[in-house]
């Protein structure tokens, strides 16, 4: 496999995505909005609604955080257990949007005819397109986590005089995002070879956010504690899935999947 070909494909795809405001606008705008608005929501809930909600939250879940003081503990809980998983949808949504455009989009716009007429191998095409979705999805997620952490900390410092992020579970949550991105891309590759256009590929692939959105509920209900160990296990499961996806992908992917 010639990595320079895979690199050329990845760079071309990224240039295409970031040349079109219709694609990168919502992709950056929504996470930016979330990372500014959700800390404000966290702060509001902590300041005004926390006492009532706190009674309903299981003590074991609350005490999982290392912060001290009711407000800080609650804000930490809310930031990580309730809103944190929402940010885990970012690598899924971003990877799904870019990968669908990259795989199904080539088919839809018929640019695949020229691409497939070049001497690239299936592995080069697959790796190039995975990179094109993986790199922006991961960088965007890191950026969004950083911004969310900064705004949350700033509000916490202003009101409660404490800095609450990052915590180890929060960092571990961030570390799961590259693994989630690869799983998403794998699903998009499979879906794209079975549908005609970008919209279908995106709509089916974004269903992957549903399991992630269950996490805040099972956390509030005390079914799982979002501890470092939880995320370590999650990473292990996702890493195994990623290895299987990449191995099977390179072995079975045919260039004609984007034809």
């Amino acid at each position: 496999m010639d990595f320079s070909n895979a690199y050329a494909i990845a760079v071309k795809d990224m240039k295409e995505v970031f040349s079109s405001v219709e694609i990168w606008g919502p992709m950056l705008g929504v996470p930016l909005f979330f990372s500014l608005m959700l800390p404000l929501l966290t702060f509001y809930v902590t300041r005004y609604a926390a006492p009532n909600i706190a009674n309903k939250v299981l003590a074991s879940t609350v005490t999982a955080s290392g912060a001290t003081g009711f407000n800080a503990v609650f804000m930490t809980f809310f930031s990580i257990n309730v809103l944190g998983p929402i940010f885990l949808t970012m690598p899924i949504l971003t990877a799904a949007v870019i990968a669908a455009d990259s795989f199904a989009g080539e088919k839809e716009r018929k640019t695949s005819e020229a691409l497939l007429a070049t001497p690239i191998s299936s592995a080069e095409l697959l790796v190039g397109k995975i990179m094109a979705s993986f790199v922006p999805a991961t960088l965007l997620t890191v950026g969004v986590f950083a911004l969310y952490g900064f705004v949350t900390n700033w509000l916490a410092m202003q009101q409660f005089g404490v800095s609450i992020l990052p915590t180890l579970p929060w960092l571990m949550m961030l570390a799961t995002s590259p693994f989630l991105a690869i799983v998403t891309i794998g699903v998009v590759v499979w879906v794209s070879s079975h549908v005609k256009g970008t919209k279908e590929a995106q709509q089916i692939s974004t269903l992957l956010v549903l399991p992630v959105l269950v996490i805040p509920f099972i956390s509030i209900l005390g079914i799982v504690d979002l501890t470092s160990m939880f995320f370590a296990y999650l990473m292990l499961v996702l890493a195994a899935a990623d290895v299987a996806i990449i191995y099977l992908g390179i072995k079975s992917f045919r260039k004609t999947a984007i034809r």
Binding site: I9, T111, S121, S122
Partner: protein, 299 residues
Amino acid sequence: MESAIRVRSLTKAFGKNVALEGIDFQSHPGINIILGPNGAGKSTLLKCIDGLYRPEKGSVRVFGQDPYTNDGLKSRLSLLTENYALYDFLTVMQNMSFFGRLYGLRDDDIAERTKEVLGQLNASEYIGSKVYTLSRGTKQKVALCRALLNDPEILMMDEPTAFLDAYAAQAIRDLMLRFTKERKTVLFVTQKIDEVTRYNGMITVLRKGRIVKQTTTEGLYRSLLKDSYVNVRVARPIGIADARHIPFFAGTNQDRATFLKFKVSSYKDINIITGHIAKMGSYVVSVDYTEPFIEDLSV
């Protein structure tokens, strides 16, 4: 000499729709043309030869290898499809750089080749423009430039002059003819008889997924001008009484005619007609025939 392209008993279907059936074809150095109406399977045949489609039955060999399984073979071929197949949000040069790199070319070679070909097609000014801002014809020129980047030994084109103005179409024809002087192979598909008769090439007529005739330009004229009418324009008027003495005369709507109609049974009859007109002291300006629809072409 071994044919660069050899197709044997090729059948290609999409579900229940059989696009090609029992195709036998081999290329010759120079211009090879696949002629047929819409839905004849012309583009599908081109894509099978380029290795984009796997045949259901039969075989396709390019330089003795299977193009579907040999990625490396693609560096010796080039395919210009009916869709311009360029990345709209990238500039012309970014498109060329991308495809050139996939062919293993160096950046300065890509830039030089791009400028050379776009210059020949009178499209150099668009090198920094994003593709979506270009007209359909200019996109077609840029797509041809991309197809020539790797200096292919076989150039395959799908309706290469569609969407082009007369100047650009002629530039592409000249480019193809220069290409064949290097003993390379050009294979293009078209539904325009007018386009086909511009070349002295090998012509394969395809209809409903089957080859119905393999011929030459001369053979095609034999079919086209069999029992058909031709119109002759002359510079010096010919009186109706004199015109009636010209063989194959079929009528005119003037007493002293500069536009005469003849019914010929072969293209050879045209020489007899023009010879008579010259003997009468007039001058032939043009000979036109009514081009049949490709669907009506008798083969």
